[in-house]
Symmetry: C2
Subunit: 213 residues, 2 copies
Amino acid sequence: MQQEEQNQETHGKIEVILQAAQRRLGLYGYEKTTMKEIADDISMSKAALYYYFTDKDAIFKAVVEREQKEFSALIEKKIAELDNPEEMVKVYIDQRMRYFREFMNLSKFRSTEPEQVKPLLKELFFRFRLEEQKLLVKILKIGNSSGQFHCENEELYADLFLNIVKGLRFSLIQQKPYIELAPEELEVLVNAFHDFTTLFIRGLKYNESKYYK
Amino acid sequence: MQQEEQNQETHGKIEVILQAAQRRLGLYGYEKTTMKEIADDISMSKAALYYYFTDKDAIFKAVVEREQKEFSALIEKKIAELDNPEEMVKVYIDQRMRYFREFMNLSKFRSTEPEQVKPLLKELFFRFRLEEQKLLVKILKIGNSSGQFHCENEELYADLFLNIVKGLRFSLIQQKPYIELAPEELEVLVNAFHDFTTLFIRGLKYNESKYYK
DNA sequence: TATCTGACCATTTTGTTTAAAAGGTCAAAG
DNA sequence: CTTTGACCTTTTAAACAAAATGGTCAGATA
């Protein structure tokens, strides 16, 4: 919206636009969602969308940012309720999984566009990744200071953890043109995440000094 | 070759064909390598290739199978020289990495064809994966019986390990149209593999009973 | 003034047609 | 037993027109 002063209806309209965009984005992905479709969905003219948003990217950026913030808030809240770092990791992976399947149909970005992810999204995902990393580092540090974990380099392991989680998704969901969460595939993924988390936590708990080699 | 009885030169010719195919395959991938090019490379007519191989797939299947067997033989030999299972895992990951970058330009299969991997290759990769899995299970069992590892389910962890290795590749090498091993990217990958292996081994060595929680 | 629209533009995507190149076959020659 | 050139059928690539898309703007609406 290019005007500074806004009518009380403006926020409502923006919300309506974002919801329509989000629905389309989730169903068909970025490329297969047109401005006209969004406009028609909410009985607006296409031009009106450009009154509230500068361009298509701005709309989808807003959608993605909102979903990301939603997840971050949720996960932070969930974790704040816990005190055991091991539990925190487990909850994190569990929630991340849900997020991925429920909200993150945004992954269709990649599948629709064969190769290059839009720079716009690259930046968004990058920032999101940084937040995830920060949260994980925090958890690892809690674990270290409570003596449950023995992790020399929290940043490194947080990074590794996130790369593996991302990689397992890639690896197990054979990247298809359409991203559909077939229940059986999802179960495989859930199990892999679970097993990996167990292993990861064991790796963190492992204390060299307790072993003679 | 459709004849049962073969002239001593036949094997030589097949070898020449396979080498030409392998070179082309490594450089340009499956789709971008034509039968005519292979034939021209070795100063043969295209039709002659069909005397030795039933079709294009047969040639590339032979190439891939040969490279896979080459790797399997090498890795089995290297591992047989060791007695420490921890070392075995490390050597395995190290050799697998080399194999990936040096011989496995076959990965270009995937990059050239946007989405679906040829069924032919799917089967080959699947069989190869089974062999890798078998080898890893063997290593894990050695570790278990020597008391160094405490791994309840060897198959499961071998599978997980291989999925993660595959996933890390996907995850870190942003899948590009061309697969070029930029030294810096390779280093990132090597480091990730190293860190993961460390973590994995710790996870295997971790013994619940030694910890009171 | 704040919100919205239809007509309009430039560029990209999509369809369709055509020519070239691809994989593959075969009778016949060496 | 090998090899070939001519030939076949199917796939891919080039070229071009038609449609659709993101985006703009003067002006209507209220």
